[in-house]
Symmetry: C2
Amino acid sequence: MSRAVVLLSGGLDSSTTLGIAAKEYEELCALTFIYGQKHEKEIESAKKIASHYCVEEHKILNIPLSKIGRSSLLKNGEKIPEHQGENIGESIPSTYVPARNMIMLSYALCYAESIGADAVYIGATARDYSGYPDCRPEFFHAFEEMAEEGTERGLEGSPVKIKYPLIHMTKGDIVKKAHEIGVPLRWTWSCYKGEKKACGECDSCKLRLKGFEEAGIEDPIDYVEKDP
Amino acid sequence: MSRAVVLLSGGLDSSTTLGIAAKEYEELCALTFIYGQKHEKEIESAKKIASHYCVEEHKILNIPLSKIGRSSLLKNGEKIPEHQGENIGESIPSTYVPARNMIMLSYALCYAESIGADAVYIGATARDYSGYPDCRPEFFHAFEEMAEEGTERGLEGSPVKIKYPLIHMTKGDIVKKAHEIGVPLRWTWSCYKGEKKACGECDSCKLRLKGFEEAGIEDPIDYVEKDP
């Protein structure tokens, strides 16, 4: 049986990535992190999505990122700023968590090597750019090379593959793809604020809404109603 | 003030690395992991060593490696094998923890970027080779390139440096260096078994004892007495 590990936050991108992985591998294991994020609510989404795809195992790991990392995305961090508007992607936003993707991919690689999985999937996208350095293709290429040098599988000549199928997709492309392959979008969570309804105002909500608009599909989740 | 982060397990190599870093940077922060290792006793050593060097901050992080990683070094793993003798370094031993150095270096990078440190030190050595793929210079070079691509500091052109000053030293060289710069070797702990006294038989003890012998220095820690 071919097997892969999928990093699953419970958002639009990682859920779509799980949907894609489900078409390419027979057995899937999902890996989700509680890392002190304000929007811990996404974990419940991750559980529903993992269950929808009947993953073999869904590991939810509590990692102490907030004990060492500085970011407005973390519970002990400053306030998450409102949407950056036209400037999004031009500078690194305060929601950047240093080395987050590196840490998560490293855990995923540990997991993959331990259970004999052949690939690790991550739902990063470099189009509609978040401004995060660790969402760029250059980073993933470098990570792959590092993983080849630093693992048993790499030295044996059959390294665990790092797969980032959304990297060149716009948010609109991702929504279309998700819709096409039947990802249960109503269960996904993207808002950074993690309140009862999505705020519709943070960078993550704005990018998501832009995606649905571009795809011409209605976003099935609830948003806070704006004052008229 | 120049500042660096040092990965400190409490063993001979990382303690010597902290001693070296103390000569190169004005302020030091130490980072130690509880990751389900059988020899959790090394944490007490790490605390003493960090305190000896008056580090600015010593973070001890509990990370869930044993929930996903397979290794005889972990509490839920198989028995640690006896010393491999002449064959040490020829194959990857069962004490290998997949992606361990990758995960720890990624945390250290997160910490360094968050506190404005300029370097991360790790006490890996490729001479007297343990057989671990992630103790090879090729791995560290690749990690440096990946860190450059995946961090804010990297994109700004002033990446956090990854320093591995012991990489080409034999265990004998390390003991000599430690002795020369006054590392409190009596507090270090290397034995994989983590019992009251060092076993003297596991790979880690054998390598340590070989180092003291080569250096012509007596190891100040207690070992289990062998039957005559």
